[in-house]
Amino acid sequence: MPLNTEPILLNLGPHHPSTHGVFRLRLIMDGEIIEDAEPVMGYMHRGSEKLAEERTYTQIITLTDRLDWLSGMSNNLAYVRTVEKLSDVEVPERAQYIRVISVELMRIASHCMALGFLINDLGAFATPLMYMFREREKILDLLEMLCGARITFSYMRIGGISHDLPEEFLPALRDFVDQMPKHIDEYDELLTKNEIIQTRAKGQGLLSAQNAVDFGVTGPNLRASGVKWDLRKSDPYEVYDRFEFDIPVGDHGDNYDRYWVRLQEMRESLKIISQAMEQIPGGLTRANVPFFVHPPAGEAYSHIEAPKGHLGFYIVSDGTISPWRCKIRSPSFINLGALASMIIGSKLADVVVTFGSLDTILGEVDR
């Protein structure tokens, strides 16, 4: 006799421990298995794009800090690069090196959080998260030394950075770069080889390379799917073409690969930082750009490889001190498009892991 069952509708979120913010997944489930999924977002819509239309170009830097609050520096960089492209500003070399150092530090911090929360979603009671918080804390201390703030940096300026490195920064950074590989080895020992994580994460949340490209997925998620695409290599901005580093690529595009790629990227970022420390030249850190920038009327699109993927800004200027339109192409928002196709057919427990492995920050999704 066939059992008379019916699918249940489960609202995962908006207030749920593993939605990393306020995000809702409408799930149609047959027991524990997902039959249909629809992401519902916008609970944190702050209208950054509209706000940008009535702020001066310099003031918008403070808005970008709040897009992806785990990687404020990268957001700053993506924005100021667009304005520099729009108004044709040449950035001094020293400033470019400092930008690269701070952005790569930010990438390590952001990946730390991504991995920590991913493992937390896998069910470890916060232990790897706490270890990774500790490393992030050291990075935030370094960045505080640099610009005086820990989350909302506002460090980049159009034409450079707000002020030069303090004297004690480079020795402290050297200490960090020497220590960090040991911690990454420790994560390897605690997590990478752990059979529980392997059985949980391997083969789940599959995203094929074809699908990843089609959905516009970028960043570590794209590389985990086997597409060797990194803007730092394929379209080098700032001074990235002067550094030797590899791009880790996953094979299958499952949750484990997304974890593994991020862990390896932390090592590569450390390589970049130590090379940048050796190469950093002297000189100015800021081009001669007025506080109230007047870019000529026109438009510019530029993107960088933020920790989450391609972070692009599309700015239309009408020649006044504030942009006519400032569109943010945020990686998390577009990566989320692939979520539904990745979780259909898997179990509820894997939904949160897949969502965590996409490394979505809701501030960036809703803007």
Partner: protein, 169 residues
Amino acid sequence: MTSFYGLGALKGLIVTLRYLFRKPFTVEYPDEKLVPNPRFRGNSFVWYEDRCTGNGACAKACPLGIIRIVTHPTSRPDIGNLYAIDRFDIDTGRCMFCALCIEACPYDAVFMGNDFERATKTRDGLVIHKEDLVTGAKLPTQQFRPQLEAMEYKGEEELDQHEAGRWSL
């Protein structure tokens, strides 16, 4: 497979066990305070009345428009004509401590402070008035003030207005 299945999970146990015998990384806040860096953008402001010309550059630079300046023209025998500042209010309840006002000030009159313990019970209590700024401790941070970095001032003792700015008054 080379290793024994389950060995990785057991190794993880040893990693966490090691931490049982290490000193905690965290500190207990009210008993032990971490020293903020010299550039720290604290929760307070330092303002030198005599350096301020009331030109409102900081108010214009502020993305949130929370600096309120009221002036009237007057003159002083030693300086000559100038604007006297009636009000200089900063609503730190809405401030996001981006330090753009510090950057905008051409006369080095306003600085970030390094205080971070300014909790109050009302939002009004967070507004810094001119009187508070005049009487408050003059402990500026190095945020966007290279001259303080050059003199290796770390924010430990009070700094008067002659030393603080790029041009002595």
